[in-house]
């Protein structure tokens, strides 16, 4: 059992050093709290208050009523009137308007005719999520009162699991994974590099500590930190955003444990490659951005190109997002998530093998 003694010695030392590093202790609690508050309140896929420009070439009571109706939806805010086509363009170019509504002079004839589009909505394509707004506006039964034939809505949209379409409900579980990736990869990436940078490693590798004992001992405290962060996110999510956990907590923690291990192993591999903490940090960020952008956290996974989907398959966060959404929102049990769990396990195995291969008890 000497190996266990050495492993625990390394873990104990790490905890002691961590507890004296006030900034890091602050980050352990601060990163999840700040991110959750920021993203929970700020990220909102329900678009409201889009600045709008209107070019009313018709200038009839009908057109004015139309504009009034559009303004009554909360989607459009601060409607500016443009006198000419050029003025409209300028408004959009400067970004003062993200959506423009052009009402043609022959509005009433077009409505009666019904074959040509009654009005035109111009969308600023450089802004995300606005196209959805436009199609939303287009499908509004705005023109019913104008005496047009009643619009038939061929498809009824029903939102399951998140009936109020609250972004927070989607965001909180997904943030759990994002925050864990951030802290776990960055903390471990610098854990071994720090010892290298400060010259401790040269001494450590002349002792009987084996590479496996050293790595396990260094990672163990971070596993605990990861679980603490998970708890923090769940509690905050429940208190602040009212996101309950539909599935079993144990399932969620087991899933989180595997994900934490996978993230730590990635950090570990980085720390065997990087020579300085600065390099380690940069490498961690290189893995972080694709995780955030491609894991289905920001954009629906299905909408991404095939190649991006393959890359996303490699990222542990993609699979954890599935797991955590399943358990927290849909009330799934862990066995439903078998493919995701297996992929996480495979990632963990590959990373650990690579890290062990790269780490020698030598300086060259």
């Amino acid at each position: 059992m000497k190996w266990l003694g050495r492993l625990l010695a390394v873990a104990g030392k790490e905890v002691r050093q961590l507890s004296r590093d006030r900034v890091t202790v602050g980050l352990i609690v601060g990163i999840p709290t700040i991110q959750l508050l920021l993203f929970g309140y700020a990220i909102n896929f329900d678009v409201r208050g889009v600045s709008t420009a209107v070019l009313d070439q018709s200038q009839t009571s009908l057109s004015r009523r139309l504009v009034g109706d559009l303004g009554a939806t909360q989607v459009l805010g601060s409607i500016r009137q443009a006198g000419t086509d050029r003025e409209l363009r300028e408004l959009m170019q400067r970004g003062d308007a993200n959506i423009a509504i052009v009402i043609p002079p022959d509005l009433e004839r077009r409505i009666a005719d019904g074959r040509r589009a009654a009005l035109q909505i111009v969308v600023d394509g450089s802004q995300p999520a606005l196209e959805n707004v436009a199609s939303g506006l287009a499908s509004m039964p705005l023109l019913r009162r104008a005496g047009a034939p009643p619009a038939v809505r061929p498809v009824e949209i029903l939102v399951a699991y998140n009936p109020q379409k609250r972004t927070a409900v989607q965001i909180v579980p997904a943030l759990c994974g994002v925050i864990l990736t951030m802290t776990m990869v960055i903390f471990t990436a610098s854990a071994i590099v720090r010892e290298r940078e400060r010259g401790n490693l040269e001494l450590l590798i002349t002792t009987p500590v084996s590479p496996a004992e050293l790595m396990a001992g260094k990672l163990l405290p971070y596993v605990a930190i990861g679980l603490i962060q998970t708890t923090l996110i769940l509690v905050l999510g429940w208190f602040l955003f009212g996101v309950p956990v539909a599935g079993r907590l144990l399932d969620l923690y087991l899933g989180a444990l595997l994900f934490i291990a996978a993230s730590l192993s990635l950090g570990l591999l980085i720390s065997t490659i990087a020579q300085t903490q600065f390099q380690a940090m940069q490498m961690a960020i290189v893995t972080l951005l694709p995780s955030i952008l491609m894991s289905g956290f920001m954009f629906p996974f299905e909408g991404m190109p095939k190649v991006a989907q393959w890359i996303a398959q490699v990222l542990p966060l993609t699979h954890f997002n599935e797991i955590v959404r399943g358990i927290v929102l849909r009330g799934a049990v862990l066995t439903d998530m078998r493919p995701e769990l297996l992929k996480l396990l495979a990632f963990l195995a590959v990373m650990l093998t690579l890290a062990m291969k790269r780490f020698h008890k030598r300086l060259d």
């Binding site: 000497k2 003694g5 050495r6 625990l8 010695a9 390394v10 104990g12 030392k13 002691r16 050093q17 004296r20 590093d21 400060r198 010259g199 401790n200 490693l201 040269e202 001494l203 450590l204 590798i205 002349t206 002792t207 009987p208 500590v209 008890k361 030598r362 300086l363 060259d364």
Partner: protein, 316 residues
């Protein structure tokens, strides 16, 4: 006399540069063996190869009967290593550092307490026990590092420039501790660039650009020096130096107070007369006197002669 460490034709290349270029070494047990050499002479690289931290490009190492780096793990249990840079943990206290190292070396409960207690007493760390290592002075750090390196009572202690950031009194104390360990049977290999420390070693190897330029006991190295040492007095230093620069045999000139110390090859015939003749123009009242060689002379002679040999090779 039994041998603790043997190396044959040991060499290590970094890129295209040979940091260590074929050295043979026999370190006797229970003695202090010194590596004397300037920065970049290969001292650290050699020590790192001896404890298995670097793999030799060429040559063999045998430590206590084990082949290194193959059996590095077995050797590590019987070897203590003090790195050039303080490598214990700045953010742990003195006691925590000792505790950690003891655990890592697998010392259990009572044994661990006893050893740590002993090192704290022996190296005068009691008053510092709760202090973080990062706040210690150079001498205090050295004592802590020595205490940590000897917790598992190693047979061999490798010390890489242990006193480079330490005041003279601490250096004296440190060397007293080393002799105490040697008295207990420990073999110590220490690298230094201080002449006074080199003089205290039982045996000494002078390293120069990856090779051993001279090897032996400090006394016999000085006695058997391949040079004549002459001190010149009563001269104007500037004109004397330029006059001496014109003498082909002069290997080195160094000023000591109001005298010049000159090294010439041993084979030089009538060196005093040669120098007086050279100085006669500008300094007719100059005095010359042949003196005994110091270790520094040995060092200068050994490195200068090698440099000349290298130059000769390049010219040829």
């Amino acid at each position: 006399m039994s041998i603790a460490i043997t190396a044959r034709d040991l060499a290590r290349r970094f890129g295209t540069k040979w940091a260590v270029d074929g050295i043979d070494l026999d370190v006797p047990r229970a003695q202090i063996y010194g590596f004397l050499g300037p920065n970049g002479s290969g001292k650290s690289t050699t020590i790192r190869m001896l404890c298995g931290l670097l793999v030799p490009t060429r040559g063999t190492v045998n430590v206590l009967g084990y082949s290194v780096p193959r059996d590095s793990e077995q050797v590590r249990l019987r070897l203590g290593y003090m790195t050039q840079r303080f490598s214990l943990w700045d953010d742990l206290t003195v006691l925590e550092n000792l505790e950690f190292m003891a655990r890592v070396y697998g010392l259990d409960g009572p044994m661990r307490r006893e050893r740590i207690g002993d090192r704290v007493r022996r190296y005068d760390l009691a008053g510092l026990a709760k202090q973080r290592a990062g706040t210690l002075s150079g001498g205090q750090r050295q004592r802590l590092a020595l205490g940590a390196a000897t917790l598992h009572e190693p047979d061999i202690l490798l010390l890489d420039e242990p006193t480079s950031a330490v005041d003279p009194q601490s250096r004296r104390d440190f060397w007293e501790s080393l002799f105490e360990l040697v008295g207990g049977g420990t073999t110590i290999l220490v690298s230094t660039h201080y002449m006074d420390e080199a003089e205290r070693c039982h045996r000494l190897a002078i390293l120069d650009r990856g090779r051993i330029a001279a090897e032996g006991e400090p006394k016999s190295l000085a006695r058997d020096i391949d040079a004549v040492v002459i001190e010149i007095g009563d001269v104007d230093f500037t004109s004397a130096r330029s006059a001496l620069a014109g003498v082909a045999e002069v290997r080195s000139v160094a000023q000591l107070g109001n005298r010049l110390r000159v090294l010439l090859p041993k084979a030089t015939r009538e060196p005093e007369a040669l120098l007086l003749a050279a100085l006669a123009d500008g300094n007719p009242r100059a005095t010359v006197e042949q003196v005994g060689a110091s270790l520094e002379d040995v060092f200068v002679a050994a490195t200068k002669l090698r440099a000349e040999a290298a130059q000769g090779e390049r010219a040829a």
